[in-house]
């Protein structure tokens, strides 16, 4: 993606997200508080974050791949289950990814 179109994406998405916030403070509550809407909104983050975890950890372009990222993710899951702080989780995942890179490279 060229620098210019990347800037377009950044600005359009930023303005769009801001308008979504402003809409909440501005429109009548009844427009937004449909049970259907709140229900879907409640579950969008879980679906989106999980999809991103999967895509970021196990794909490369159109291919499914297994590499250090998946190992790092497994270590991160273990650390989260043991209630490690966020920064520790990231450091452990990064160290695992680097280790696999060195061992495999």
């Amino acid at each position: 993606m060229s620098g210019g179109s990347l800037w377009t994406v950044v600005l359009v998405a930023a303005v769009g997200c801001y308008l979504l916030k402003l809409a909440g403070l501005s429109v009548p509550a009844a427009w937004v508080e449909h049970p259907w809407v709140t229900r879907v909104v409640e579950f969008v983050p879980a679906a989106l974050l999980a999809a991103l975890v999967a895509v970021q950890a196990a794909t490369s372009g159109p291919d499914l791949v297994v590499d250090g990222r998946l190992a790092g993710l497994a270590v991160a899951a273990l650390a989260l289950a043991l209630r490690a702080p966020f920064i520790v989780v990231l450091v452990l995942a990064g160290a695992t990814g680097a280790l696999v890179h060195v061992l495999a490279g």
């Binding site: 709140t38 991103l52 990064g94």
Partner: protein
């Protein structure tokens, strides 16, 4: 505020003033603590933005203008996976719809007077400010919690975004591999609290998460990069919508017919919020 504190003469007044001041201090302390913790995610975001090919300025503009972490992560996540601009914008907006619902909840509490205040307040309507404002014991503390949390997180988030982006941009091969492993781990850490038993409807959240991941992986070989993420969300959200009779029941619970405009007018207190 304690309703009986002010009517009992001087000792009562002093005691209630002390209690108010202690509550304000506690609110500010919580807000600053949360801001510092969230700042760490800013480092991860800056690094993820760099990994996705954004420069430091683009990462900073996202943090300053978009200022809603999950959408920012989603945008750079889709771009980092090679996705199109439209897919990236779409996933950021999908996550941003959450803030619309938060705004509806916060409107009666903040009651921003005038266009300028509303425009300013809207910028800081995010997960953390909403949670802090809604959890505060009364409306005044709720407002204080909103503005204090918003200010602390805004400053910390933007500073740490720059740190993360600058720190990540000078990395070599092995460090790049480390960063590649950090990005999905950061997404997992964001997702994790939703999968815990204490989260409302944790079982459904887990099914939704597994569904999203599986659909995204299945679609990866057959659709353009990035589209699988948006498609997974749409598919799972539609599958998880309430059936028609549930809608009727939930609708009756949420707003009785004779009281249609209530959510905006009712006084806000934690016990009335159905968080």
């Amino acid at each position: 505020m304690h309703p009986l504190g002010g009517v009992r003469g001087r000792p009562g007044v002093l005691a209630s003033l002390a209690a108010v001041s202690a509550a304000r201090t506690a609110t500010l302390r919580d807000a600053v603590g949360l801001g510092l913790a969230v700042g760490l995610y800013g480092v991860a975001f800056g690094a993820a933005a760099d990994a996705a090919g954004l420069d430091v300025w683009q990462a900073l503009v996202l943090s300053a203008l978009m200022f809603t972490g999950a959408s920012q992560f989603a945008l750079v996540g889709v771009l980092g996976a090679g996705g199109s601009g439209l897919a990236a914008i779409g996933s950021a907006l999908l996550l941003g719809t959450r803030n619309t619902v938060y705004g509806v909840r916060l409107a009666p509490l903040l009651a921003p007077r005038g266009v300028l205040r509303r425009v300013g307040a809207a910028h800081w309507v995010i997960d953390e400010t909403t949670a802090m404002a809604v959890a505060a014991p009364d409306r005044e503390l709720g407002r204080l919690a909103f503005w204090a949390t918003g200010a602390t997180i805004y400053v910390g988030w933007n500073l740490t975004t720059v740190l993360g982006a600058l720190g990540a941009s000078g990395l070599g091969g092995t460090a790049q591999a480390a960063l590649d492993a950090v990005v999905p781990a950061a997404f997992l850490a964001l997702l994790w609290p939703r999968l815990q038993r204490t989260f409302p409807e944790a079982a459904v959240q887990r099914r939704v998460a597994v569904g999203g991941a599986v659909v995204a992986l299945l679609l990866t070989p057959v659709v353009p990069a990035g589209v699988q993420v948006v498609a997974a969300v749409v598919a799972v959200a539609l599958a998880g919508r309430p059936r028609s009779e549930e809608v009727v029941q939930a609708g009756e619970l949420a707003s009785p017919p004779e009281d249609g405009a209530a959510p905006r007018k009712r006084p806000t207190s934690p016990s009335e919020e159905d968080s």
